[in-house]
Amino acid sequence: MKHPGEFALNRRDLVAGASACTALTVMPLTARAEAPIADRAVKTPVSLTINGRRHDLELDTRTSLLDAVREHAHLTGSKKGCDHGQCGACTMIVGGRRINSCLTLAIMHQGDEITTIEGLGKPDALHPMQAAFIKHDGYQCGFCTPGQICSGVAVLDEIKAGIPSHVTADLTAASEVTASEIRERMSGNICRCGAYSNIVDAMTEVAGRRA
């Protein structure tokens, strides 16, 4: 079955393939036998566990974790902003740690526990961070919000685990939930609507509730 996005990928590959052909002709025979033929997609079975549910997929090796989740597992809560790890819209929690899902390959995450915004809460049973974002108006257009919330949840866990940040004054002391800690730790999540101060309020409230 074709899904939106697959066509765009194929069109791009066609252009890429043209330049790759020249490179392949000068490669030694042994390597050429193992190399992908004329930049043709290499497909491979990939099994992902997303929000506790297993998805058995057949993917091009190039597929990012983000594209696998959105285009193949059809969980479109995670967003593609820059696709280069600069904006944080694609943030997911993998193995308990937040990562940019656009900058990692799906094939590298077989067996990992992957949590997306859909796995944090449901419309009728929101995660405390989701509820706090609504209460404090932690968004306007909402595009960055799934990434902000996944990052926000993981940031509070990082502070709890004693992971230091650039603004932690004493490296040997426990980190605290302060506005400057939240701002520094959330710097990998961009919000072009500028809801930052409300995001800090939402995270501060959730941190207080937990303590």
């Binding site: 491979t44 940040s165 520094e184």
Partner: protein
């Protein structure tokens, strides 16, 4: 992105031989720099060797009283390690000043060392770049170069090494441990790990094709007050204009390395005796022979002043 085949070997020797077998192979660890560049077709490997199955993810004490950091220890875990925070504070500080939380969770010790020395023209495939396409020219020379190198650069390339971790490792006299396709191990002082561009800016490190980093070792703690100060255009998640890694002892002796100034972490041991006299004479020695551009000449003054601030802070 160009298509590639993929494998995930189980031992460092297997990984090195897999990479040596395929001429267009690359190791992938965190992938945060490599995949970024692959999406732009600046890196075009035909085969990826995923090293995440190799272990190499622990930090252990060495017999010499130092630490051996596995190649796959994530930047977050290295920065948070209690021994690093206590005895190698400059390293912890450098790590948390780099990238974003998401990237530090993925980026590895070896991968951080191997991030490309790069500039905006390296990313812009419509522009000439001797690093991306050897012999094509350098668009940065005569272009917008505010962020770029002032020393150690060449007629072929003026990009800066953008990392923070390696600057701290340079001041800590770390050693990079590797294994090659034949299974032979070697140790490379971090001072010799990154090379200057000369007329081959595409070759950035001392690694041979297929050679795999297995660990970085730190010598016995040297104590002192350890500082990493990074000056940049915004408060977080930006490359350094100038950064200073310093270890200052009670007797006034000190060692310093700079980031953001050169194609590799910049340290001049012979100039460190000058640090007792102050930042100005030391900076003059450290940056003697600098060739700044019109856009980035300010970095020399900024480096001196940042060094002054760091020495003042460390000496209380």
């Amino acid at each position: 992105m160009k298509a590639f085949t993929y494998e995930k070997p189980a031992s460092p020797a297997e990984a090195a031989s897999a990479a040596a077998r395929m001429p267009d192979a690359k190791f992938i660890a965190g992938g945060t720099n490599l995949l970024d560049l692959m999406k732009l077709q600046i890196e075009t490997p035909a085969h990826l060797v995923d090293v995440n199955g190799l272990g190499l993810d622990t930090i252990a004490a060495t017999q010499e009283g130092g630490l051996r950091i596995g190649a796959l220890v994530r930047n977050t875990d290295l920065a948070a390690d209690a021994r690093v925070r206590t005895d190698y504070g400059v390293l912890s500080r450098a790590l948390v000043s780099g990238a974003s939380g998401q990237l530090r969770n993925k980026a590895t010790t070896a991968g951080n060392l191997l991030q490309r020395t790069r500039c905006p023209y390296f990313y812009d495939t419509a522009q000439p770049c001797n690093k991306r396409q050897p012999g094509s020219g350098c668009a940065a020379i005569g272009g917008v170069s505010r962020q770029l190198g002032v020393i150690g650069t060449s007629e072929a390339c003026i990009a800066t090494y953008p990392g923070d971790m390696a600057v701290a490792m340079r001041v800590l006299d770390a050693t990079v441990e590797t294994v090659d396709a034949e299974g032979a191990a070697r140790k490379i002082p971090v001072a010799e790990f990154h090379r200057l561009p000369g007329d081959t800016p595409q070759i950035e490190t001392a690694l041979k094709p297929g050679e795999l980093i297995t660990a970085v070792t730190l010598p016995k703690p040297v104590g002192g007050t350890q500082v990493y100060r990074k000056v940049r255009d915004r408060a977080s998640y930006a490359f350094a204009l100038v950064s200073v890694a310093a270890i200052v002892q009670r007797d006034g002796s000190a060692r310093v390395a700079f980031g953001g100034m050169a194609p590799r972490p910049w340290r001049v041991e012979a100039a460190e005796a000058e640090l007792a006299k102050g930042a100005k004479p030391a900076a003059e020695r450290i940056f003697a022979g600098a060739k700044p551009t019109h856009d980035n000449a300010f970095k020399l003054k900024l480096a001196e002043r940042t060094l002054d601030a760091v020495l003042t802070e460390a000496r209380g």
